[in-house]
Structure formats: structure tokens, C-alpha cells
Symmetry: C2
Subunit: 229 residues, 2 copies
């Protein structure tokens, strides 16, 4: 028996590609997006009461996950990419049913739109459901997880002077916290954990409509070298 | 565009009917169940690593929710059943996409089976996904929800002497914490919040294969009067 679901909306997000999306939401508070609700869910009735709610769970489709062959085990990046664990012990996007679950901050409610931050969703992500975060039920004080005991260590991110000026200009143009977004996402170290970076090699990613380029002057340090539309 | 998902397993649960299921998981730690994984997910590889994880998120289908007409607003029982809020501000089972999300305790891992407690799932619930609870990402310390600020107030539950003896016998037969299960679930007050109970009226529910009957000697007190197979 299979179950069929129609998206109730989609997310317009700062993340134009999968690379450099934080591994968990909340790691980049400056990552913003807008959830556009489809009719009839764009009516104010459907979200009445959310004014009193600080955070939402979004259930969504990993629409850009490779479909291909199913594996029962995955290599989570945070375990260095060489240790395999069961897919149900991981939050991998490559799952038997590619449904994601993210907690995001609700910053505002407009006509048929929810303004979000702290997101880890790719632009265009189809949303299946929205549920209010219920602190007394969802924030467990006695839970433990030895595979992910704390947020990943962060790299130091610094800037070339031209890149910082470019970022300031893009922030003004987009009216978005571009500098914070870049610092928070790159501090998570987007490259695969098993890659030892050549100090000259440049990496790049697109946030909104801007291309960000950086390199690793040391293994634990990132320097942003260009931020261009 | 619609998305189709096949269950990866189903839950065998103490809750034989919807009535008296706690409104959030964790409210009844004695509520136990077994998640039976379907092939190929019943292989040990699929859950390797879960030994280090105390709690799981289950994504599931509200398979017994009435399909009928869609409403954008619902009357949550905890608001007394007479205040309507948007469906996306509630955890109601009557949702545009009837997908549920529950956090449960993982008590053990057997061949193709996960032993669970603190569940709020109806017997036979189809499971779409299992994800590990990640405390640093899921347990938000700064979240607020004015619609559900604390766990609901609990009623006092006491027993007629014959009912308590019956419950002890059923607990032995089923090898389940039947007394705790009944006390924890009835303390949530299963009846609709807007009903003022006649002190003589008897209510009943089935847990596992046993029928539990109680009445309300006072509005805030439950007396269990029978526990019979």
C-alpha cells in the first residue's frame, strides 16, 4: 500500500544549491527563506494561532536527493565520511522515503507566506506539512545520541578586503544578512570531511543569486575571496 | 505534483483504539509498542548505530483519521474544544497531508524490530520514516508556544479494589505495565474537555486486548471500575 501527498507550499530559500547547506537547521540563523502556501492554504485561517509560536516543524520532500540505488547504510559527513551507519540512525537525505523534518524559526506571517530563518532547505523545496513546535513535548531533557553529541566544530572564517566590500554591497542590494549567512554556513566547513584542502584550491557556492568563493589558507581556516552577483 | 511513499514498517501498539491515546507522546511512558520493519529494512544494517540513540522521531500516516471534508481550522481538545485555530498551528490528526511526527523512546533493538515506549500511536500505524533524535538540534531552549505552554493538567486516578486486582492479573498475563499504562493515560482525561461528566456514566477503552472501564466520581477524579479481557 502506498500513500500519496500533495505539497501544501514551497520554500523560497537562500540556498540555491545543496553544497554548503548546514547539516542541521539552527546552525545558520541568518539563513532565511519564505514559505509560500498554495491555495486554499494561503488563507489566513490556515495559520491562525501561529502568532504565538516561535518555531515550526516543516515536513518536506528531499526533492533534489539522488533517487538511484537504495542503500541500507550511509556515510554521514560528520563521522568523517568513512564510517557507515544504518540509514535510520542518520538524518541523511538518501532515505527509503525522502521526507525531511526541519525545525525553523518563524519570523513573520504575511498573506499566504511565512517568513522563516535558521533554515536548511534548498530553494524550491516542496512542503508537505507545518506543525507548531511544542516545547514541553519536543525539547527532551533526557535524550542522548552518541553519534551526534554536540554541534560540529566550527572553522574560523575571515575575509579578503575586496570580498568583504562586495558582501556589504550585496547585503544592501538583497536586503539580507549576507555577511552573517556566509560566515555561519562556511564555518560549518562545507567540503567533505575526508578532503584535505590544497591551500590554493578555490571552492564556490551560490547563496541567493550571488557566487561566493573561498579557500583554506590553513586546514581549520576559511578565507572568503569573492562575493559576486 | 504528488509524492508517493511506501511504509517501511508498522507499529504494534497498546492502543487498540484512538480514544485515550495521550495528546502528545512521552505523556505515558508505560505506553509500549513494537515497530516491525518490512523487508529489506528488517536487516540489522538499516538500524546499525541506533544502539547509541535514546529517542527516535517516527514519521507516520494517521491511517485512521477521517478523510472527509478538509477544514482550514480545527478545535484542539486542549483549548476546550470550542476555540478554533489554523490546522498548521495545531498537531491535529485532521491535516491536509495526514502525516504524524512523534518522538518515542527506543528501549531495545531486535531482529527487524524496534522496542518502543512513550508512544502515542494507534495499533497498526504505518511508518514512513525513522530518524534519530539529535538533542543539540531538536531540543530548542529558546522556543515558545503560547497555545501549549505546559503539559495538560492531570486528573487523579484511583481504583476499585476488584479493578486493581484484575489489572494486576492482566499485567502478569500480558507481561506489560498495565496499571501504569491505565493510570498515565486516564490521568490525561480522555473524554472531550467540553463534556461535564455525569458521576454515574461509565466510559470505556481498550488497551491491548483488555477493556478498561471508569467513571468520574468528581469532575477532576477518575475511578477505574473494571479491567477485563
Amino acid at each position: 500500500m502506498s500513500y500519496s501527498f500533495e505539497p501544501i507550499g514551497l520554500v523560497h530559500s537562500c540556498f540555491a544549491e545543496k553544497f554548503a547547506i548546514p547539516r542541521q537547521p539552527q546552525l545558520a540563523p541568518a539563513a532565511r527563506g519564505v514559505l509560500e502556501l498554495f491555495p486554499p492554504y494561503d488563507k489566513p485561517e490556515a495559520v491562525a494561532g501561529l502568532e504565538g509560536v516561535s518555531h515550526l516543524w516543516l515536513l518536506f520532500v528531499f526533492h533534489a536527493a539522488a533517487s538511484g540505488e537504495q542503500h541500507l547504510r550511509v556515510r554521514p559527513p560528520r563521522l568523517g565520511g568513512n564510517q557507515r551507519i544504518g540509514v535510520f540512525a542518520s538524518r541523511s537525505t538518501h532515505r527509503p522515503n525522502p521526507i525531511g523534518q526541519s525545525v525553523v524559526r518563524l519570523d513573520g506571517i504575511e498573506d499566504g507566506r511565512l517568513l522563516l530563518s535558521g533554515i536548511d532547505l534548498l530553494d524550491g523545496t516542496p512542503i508537505l506539512d507545518i506543525k507548531p513546535y511544542v516545547p514541553y513535548a519536543d525539547a527532551l531533557s533526557d535524550a542522548s545520541n552518541t553519534l551526534a553529541e554536540a554541534a560540529p566544530a566550527q572553522l574560523v572564517v575571515d575575509w579578503s578586503e575586496p570580498a568583504l566590500q562586495q558582501a556589504r554591497a550585496q547585503a544592501l542590494r538583497l536586503q539580507q544578512p549576507v555577511i552573517e549567512l556566509i560566515e555561519q554556513c562556511l564555518a560549518q566547513d562545507p567540503k567533505p570531511a575526508y578532503q584535505r584542502p590544497d591551500t590554493n584550491r578555490e571552492y564556490g557556492v551560490r547563496f541567493w543569486d550571488i557566487n561566493v568563493r573561498w579557500h583554506y589558507p590553513q586546514a581549520d581556516r576559511i578565507r572568503v575571496v569573492a562575493v559576486e552577483q
